[in-house]
Amino acid sequence: MSTQENTPRTLDVFLRGLWEENPVFVMLLGMCPVLAVTNKVINCFAMGVSATFVLVMSSLIVSLLRNYIPKQVRIASYIVIIATFVTIVDYAIQAISLDLYDSLGAFIQLIVVNCIILGRAEAFASRNTPPKAVLDAIGMGIGFTFALLCLGVVREALGNGTLLMDTPWEISLFGPRFAPWSVMILPPGGFFVLGLQILFFNWLRKKLQRRKTAAEQA
């Protein structure tokens, strides 16, 4: 990762996670929840918020403790820290809504092994000051949530004809006669939509880059 070579500017730390190093579309991290929970917009939202919370809190703690944790046991320490916050989120969601908890299934607990969080702890938080680590975590978290929502909106719209189903704000998009494409709610739909969206974002990024170099040369 080139960004570690020279200390990045503060704003860049935040923006990177959204676009240039988007954890899902660019780094292809955390694919397991991305494919599994994105069949409903509300799931994407809950997953994104939970993962962001865990990411921010564990980045903060890791960054605060970075001078005290011996490097031989650092991974074990990070995992314990991350697992603590994941369990907190797990209880919190159970307390908020059991239906939401059921539809997220095992994926809340699996945030522990989400490579985005351990990756950020190891690659960034453990070598930067707490404010920067938190900023990076927020950026990555929002980038992750954004990617989940990108998939979720398409999958729920096509697979069920709605947005925000199972919430009080459910919107029916195409009327009652719409034939839902159930494949989109099922796992294959996750792969199809993810593949096509990675294609789209790569194309968009290349295009923007070309425009940027063209502008610099001019």
């Binding site: 990762m1 570690q4 001078n67 603590t84 209880y91 159970q94 809504s97 059991l98 690659a123 453990s126």
Partner: protein, 229 residues
Amino acid sequence: MTTANHAAAQIPTPQPTGSLAMIGTLAGIAFVSGVLLALVYEGTYDRIQQNQQARTRAAVLDILPGVVSQQVFEASAPGPDGQPVTQEFFAGYDASGALVGVAIEASDSGGYGGEIRVIYGYLPDKQEITGMKVLLSRETPGLGDRISTDAAFQANFAGMQLALDPDSKQPVHSLTYVKPGEADKPTDVEGISGATISSQAVTRAVRASTERMLPVVHDMLDELRRGSQ
């Protein structure tokens, strides 16, 4: 990813660390984590319990019309291998405290996506099933999950007469799965075309549970009637 050199340069403890320091750090983190989790667990325990109770209560109230309070009972009935298995079920009472009916959970593992768990209501006085509600299923959206959304399939179970034999207390006619449009007995369950496997699994679940549990429930009727006092 960074090289090993790079990593070592960044972490400000280049000297080998003693085991004691490592154990100490891990133990410290684990201790703080444990305390934190205990606090969160205590803080959310009541809410989670409330949520779970609200959920079963909603299911029971849904399946037994006119019920205002409910109580959990246990019954022991022979399982598939002949050994007695204890199962919980719910008895529902109306405002005057009289027994309305029971709600029993049933499950079958032969669904398209694995286990299907349903709850059904039974009125011992009328010998009638009030209805069926799917509690858990992983059936295909738009196809197998019609067991919980298809009104015609749900109607199979609503008001189904299930007379018990006075001696053996077994249902006179067991639930039978038939193709759509072919039901001629109240205990015939018309399947959903295109969702045969899922609707068969639901039928099997309810049939097995009625054969197993209803005789026991009938033997317990006095206890159930007393239950609300």
